[in-house]
């Protein structure tokens, strides 16, 4: 007796009248997603250019988060208290209970930011410098690690708060994507008294023509310590410039005694220069408002002038360094700052090649330039500034004059409002005296 053939199920027929809904089906988000790195076609069978793109690693990210502070409690390593603040004299954190002092690790060593920059390739962005999520809330709710209460921090102007139940100090350590938490912070070193002295000295040298009201209201004790947001960039680049240079070959005068004029002969050269270089810790404002250096409407150039900082001494982010100071949030991403970086790199390149064209004694007219960026590394930092400001209203328009002190190096720069009429009187007086002298000289000569 022969066995009957096995029963085969009928082929699957999708029910009639139920087409696949729009947006569903293979390759849609409704399907089970493929595992990361899985491709429907073996990349090895594809052309090399496509293969390279498919198999390229994800953009490198420097992880600078501090998992040990994720519960929001920055505890004293000796007694566990969270009442911690910066002691500018030593640049270290001090526990307000047991006076123990300690410091965060320097980012230079912690994240290996030293090393040979000529090996830098691609764009490396540290985790605190990642793109800002415009939808990210500025109000962050933190769960107190000590009692479990929920505490709200407004990251627009603060990165810490005290738990209203157990009185522990909570600080923001999580790198929320709203630009409030950078990778590193450079603690204040110049004390407030020192800053006051420097500001007073700066203004004392500029009293004669200073605005009367400014002098009357000058109270440097109102100086504010503020951490401003910057991107600190390392770069490995090459630049090439093309232009025309001239070397003087002869100089002579023509014309009669009354109408003598000097003329020049010169050789004209086509000039090309190329230079490869690395830059270490180029510092760029990462707040759009601060980066606007239009002196007609603001005095931000004053704050720009006190750069650079000793960014090599920046330490891992710890919000306790900000206790007692104010801070501003970063609002610019790496992409938005790229043109500024390229402008600065090209300027540096032009400065680097200037020494090699000195023989062109009639100068060089650079006409074209090229920048090859081989690699950049971006680290977001909060840098310390003592800021004194004075609001001047003139002609219905207001202008904030800053006097800024670099709270690391002590470099001081400022804008002192002037008493216009006094300045004009002085200029006219000197002009009149010079004119009288000129007329006297003409009379003597004639």
């Amino acid at each position: 007796m022969t066995n009957p053939p096995p029963i085969q199920p009928p082929p699957y027929q999708p029910p009639a009248g139920s087409p696949v809904p729009d947006g569903a089906g293979p390759g849609s988000p409704q399907e089970v997603p493929p595992t990361p790195g899985e491709h429907p076609i073996d990349p090895a069978t594809l052309p090399e250019a496509i293969q390279d793109e498919l198999l390229a690693p994800d953009p490198p990210v420097l992880d600078t988060s501090s998992p040990e502070l994720q519960d929001g409690l920055n505890r004293c390593p000796n007694c566990g208290s969270t009442d911690v603040e910066l002691r500018p004299a030593t640049g270290m954190l001090v526990c307000l209970f047991c006076r123990t002092e300690w410091s965060s690790e320097r980012v230079e060593e912690a994240y290996g930011l030293g090393g040979d920059l000529s090996e830098l390739r691609g764009t490396v962005v540290a985790s605190g410098a990642q793109d800002i999520d415009t939808g990210a809330d500025t109000l962050i709710t933190m769960k107190c690690g000590a009692c479990g209460a929920e505490v709200v921090i407004n990251t627009e102007n603060q990165v810490g708060a005290r738990c209203h139940w157990c009185r522990h100090t909570l600080t923001l350590a999580e790198q929320v994507p709203n630009g409030a938490v950078p990778d590193a912070v450079l603690p204040f070193r110049i004390t407030k008294q020192d800053a006051i002295g420097r500001i007073r000295q700066f203004v004392d040298k500029r009293r004669l023509f200073a605005l009367k009201r400014f002098k009357e209201e000058f109270t440097p004790e109102n100086v504010v310590g503020v951490y401003l947001p910057y991107m600190v960039v390392d770069g490995n680049v090459g630049a090439e410039v093309f232009g025309v240079g001239e070397i003087e070959t002869r100089r002579y005068t023509r014309g009669s005694d009354e109408n003598k004029k000097t003329y020049y002969d010169a050789d004209v050269y086509q000039v090309r220069r190329q230079v490869d270089f690395t830059v270490d810790d180029l510092t760029i404002e990462s707040s759009a408002e601060r980066a606007n250096l239009d002196t007609k409407v603001n005095t931000n150039n004053i704050i720009n002038t006190i750069l650079p900082f000793d960014t090599k001494n920046a330490v891992k982010w710890n919000a306790s360094y900000l206790t007692g100071y104010t801070s501003e949030k970063r609002d610019q991403d790496v992409a938005a700052l790229q043109p500024t970086l390229e402008h600065q790199l090209l300027s540096i390149a032009r400065a680097e090649v200037a020494g090699s064209v000195r023989r062109y004694d009639r100068g060089v007219r650079w006409e074209q330039e090229r920048l090859d960026v081989h690699g950049t590394r971006w680290v977001a930092m909060h840098l310390p500034v003592w800021l004194y400001s004075y609001y001047e209203v003139r002609g219905g328009r207001g202008l904030v004059h800053y006097i800024a002190v670099n709270a690391r190096t002590g470099e001081t720069m400022g804008s002192v409002p002037v008493q216009q009429w006094k300045l004009l009187v002085a200029a006219l007086t000197v002009g009149t005296v010079l004119e009288a002298v000129a007329i006297a000289a003409l009379v003597v000569l004639s």
Binding site: R206, F242, D265, I439, A440
Partner: protein
Amino acid sequence: MIELLTHSVILAADTFEGDGGLWLLALGPAGAVGLYWMLYRFYRNTDKSHAYERETLVEAQPVTGDDRKVDEVRGVSNSSISGNNVNRFRDRVRRLPPSRTDG
């Protein structure tokens, strides 16, 4: 002081006697404007910014390049090449596309 100034001005006028010394009349207005701007800048510091060209740590390889004589000019009255920007590092000129794409 004024005597000394007058003496200096006469000496200068002697040196540049070409146009009969009439240029001396510009001394007053030029001095007034010059002083105004000098003092204004000293107080307001509107011309200051971070000198990143010289204040940044830069490690450069030796500069390379080439120079090719293409022309000669005769009897020009300008003491320097027109559009001289050799020291105006921040003036951008026409940008060429990158030669490599490894950035």
